[in-house]
């Protein structure tokens, strides 16, 4: 009985954490502030929308972390791809082309990371620390060190009703409506896809195999180099999509956006139960982790706590999550 309770606590840790945090804010917010109820559909619509970028990033990061890697260049990739998208929209390319270009841009950066890591056998942490700088610099270069705005005065002059569907995908402009923005649905669909990919396909099994023990994977004849490049490339596609939602949220391409977002994304995956040693992690956990981060942010704002307080709390949550991971591993040994 006691053992099974412990098992539930460890297995369902992220989910229980999420419930506790929501319960806390639902009680505390109306008590302490004049904001009224925290536990409302409207609030959750905002929270879901705010989760989108981190969640899409966390999907890619889950693959990478399960395979025993890490990618610090996500934030920069999001900024660069959003600049690429904005530039294309500025030049009157259709939204579809912009989306494809952003996904392709993310994929290219991922393939570069993967090739450096797997092909040249370098440590992922260092390689992606390098590309973090390179990609951020490239984004600023492409944006000429300022935000990339659209429609340009020229576009406005040609067509007063200039509009791109990209701007609609993350909108919460209609706060009383029931509909969730497109971005949230896209995340749900992608989460299902990535979960299937990881759990039900040979590729997914191989991702776990590489992360659990790369030497065994090689010994068993898995094409480890190719697999790793593919993993970073696929994750890059998702990071490009995260860039799309970044662009959609701001309605402009900002080369300085998403600084430090890689840490939120990695934290979401770790809080969700993945192990930085590789071989362990779930999509569901990562999504709960991403949601937990967003609830914490919204909740602390609703409590009117200062920003720095929010950072401290999120830091604490990460440490607690890693401690849980440690307990879990202790059980296995």
């Amino acid at each position: 009985m006691k053992a099974s309770l412990k098992r539930i606590l460890l297995k369902g840790g992220p989910f229980i954490g999420l419930i506790l945090v929501i319960a806390f804010f639902s009680i505390a917010v109306p008590l302490v502030t004049h904001h009224g109820n925290f536990f409302t559909y409207h609030n959750f619509k905002i929270i879901f929308t705010q989760t989108v970028i981190v969640a899409v990033g966390a999907l890619g990061m889950t693959m990478i972390i399960v395979s025993g890697g890490i990618d610090l260049s996500v934030g920069s990739t999001i900024a660069l791809t959003s600049v690429i998208g904005a530039r294309l929209l500025q030049h009157d390319w259709p939204a579809g082309v912009a989306v494809l270009a952003m996904v392709a841009g993310g994929a290219l950066i991922g393939l570069l990371n993967g090739t450096l890591i797997a092909g040249l056998r370098m440590v992922p942490f260092i390689v992606t620390l390098g590309t973090l700088g390179i990609v951020r610099g490239t984004a600023k270069w492409l944006a000429e060190n300022q935000t990339v705005n659209y429609p340009t005065p020229l576009q406005k002059a040609a067509n007063a009703d200039w509009h791109t569907p990209v701007d609609d995908w993350m909108t919460t402009a209609d706060p009383d409506g029931m509909a969730l923005p497109v971005g949230v649905w896209v995340v749900l669909a992608l989460a299902l896809l990535v979960a299937l990919l990881l759990c039900r396909t040979v590729f997914g099994r191989h991702v776990f195999a590489i992360g659990s023990n790369e030497q065994t994977a090689r010994l068993c004849g898995l094409p480890t180099v190719r697999l790793k490049i593919l993993i970073y490339g696929l994750a890059g596609c998702l990071f490009g999509l995260a860039g799309l939602f970044q662009l959609s949220r701001l309605s402009l391409g900002d080369p300085t956006a998403a600084v430090g977002l890689e840490l939120d994304i990695i934290a979401a995956v770790i809080v969700g139960g993945a192990s930085l040693n590789g071989g362990v992690g779930t999509v569901l956990g990562s999504m709960i982790g991403a949601l937990l981060m967003a609830v914490l942010r919204t909740g602390t704002q609703a409590m009117e706590w200062p920003n720095y307080f929010q950072e401290i709390i999120i830091g604490l949550v990460i440490i607690v999550a890693v401690y849980f991971d440690r307990l879990r591993q202790g059980r296995e040994n």
Binding site: V202, A209, S212, G221, L222
Partner: protein
Amino acid sequence: MTNPLTTAASLRLAGIRKSFGATHALRGVSFGIAPGEVHALIGENGAGKSTLMKILSGAHRADAGSMELAGRPYLPENPHDARLKGVAMIYQELNLALHLSAQENILLGDESARAGWINRAASRERARAALAQLGHEALDLGRPAGAFSIAEQQVIEIARALLKQPKILIMDEPTSSLTQADTEKLFATIGRLRAQGVGVIYISHFLEECRRIADRYTVLKDGETVGSGEMKGATLDHLVTLMTGREVKDLYPRAAHATGAVVLEVRAAVSPPRLRCATLQVRAGEIFGLGGLIGAGRTDLLRAIFSLDELAAGEVCVVGAPAGRSTPRARWTEGVGFLSENRKEEGLMLSQSIADNLTLTKQDRFGRFGFISGGRQRATAQRWVDELRVKCRDAAQPIGELSGGNQQKVAFARLLEHPAKIFLLDEPTRGIDVGSKAQIYQLIGDLAASGKAVVVVSSYLPELLGLCDTIGVMCRGELAAVRPRAEWTEAGVMRVATGGE
């Protein structure tokens, strides 16, 4: 200070019991050692030696039984406390801070210091004295520990243990990574300790060594003391019979098997740094043994055959496959399977399930269009689990939770399931219990009988001689001699392995 020779330092254990959950690791062990005695503790893996040593060194606490050191009750709180009380342990894997100097390592945790400042002269003096006690006063104290050979590192570690003037020194498999010459030096060191009245508990699988160095022996089997006495009167056969509870010849069942055509050929293979030259032929239905000392290049030869390491010269031909550069992936396709000697680091994914570990080489077989049917995969794994009597909850259990023997059965089943035609087995019975061992010998025999080719690397001579049809012995990176088993003896293998022939 008392003269160590007159200190009554005998250690006595009676009725020691220890359980981990449902597993009874020790079921009543009694054991005694006098001052200045070298006592060999013998037993198969899983017999309870390591548990007993952990209790002695304070890492575990016994559930029942009594321990006495020099006539007083001995109940160590932890390894540090055990050392203070006079029981020190030298582990098989040395515990040195490789970047620190020899002197710093010897004094680690016991620095000569005042108010945090190290007294360098006194430090050197004490380190030097400890080394002198071992007859190694010439060792360069300022060199980083990592720059010394394994044998010298061991001396540094023993010197560290001597600082606390131990009454009992436990050595766990001290010669497993030593050369013959270094083993001799270690024996000289042990001789000095004996002369100084230190009781040495010597744990080793090398029975010949135990017979040479030890005064008395105790044999453990399944957590119990099954025999103990003077080493002088004990024969090798007697010790083996005590350890295994069976005659040596029963352990290696020989299924009749005939050899066929050559299926694997290695010609003058070179793979730096360890493998310098090897030429051999293996036939279908043949069990080919590779003997030699650790580090002689046996593992490197297997890895080169399996294309895990690249060849610098020479060639490996798997009959029916294209010659030239290959990969482990291609080898599996050609029907070559490899069982790593290093289960934990290379052979298995410890956090993954038995089913995933067992089917990793060919997972696409368990589904369509890249998707996997977990049910079919688990059913296949379950079949092997039943057939090989792997002790586990079910095929979905993470393999890290199984015992070494059961892990090895799963690792072996991976080759059987693939299925391989040529089996490259690196130390297939290392670190597993006798029951699993017998089962693996049986499997190997059956494989040969069904026309598969098997290459076995083994450091254990009776295994090599009991199991194989042909034996090749490696020495310093070269495959020095290949002969039918009938032409080999244990002494003969050792002579070639140590470069004496």
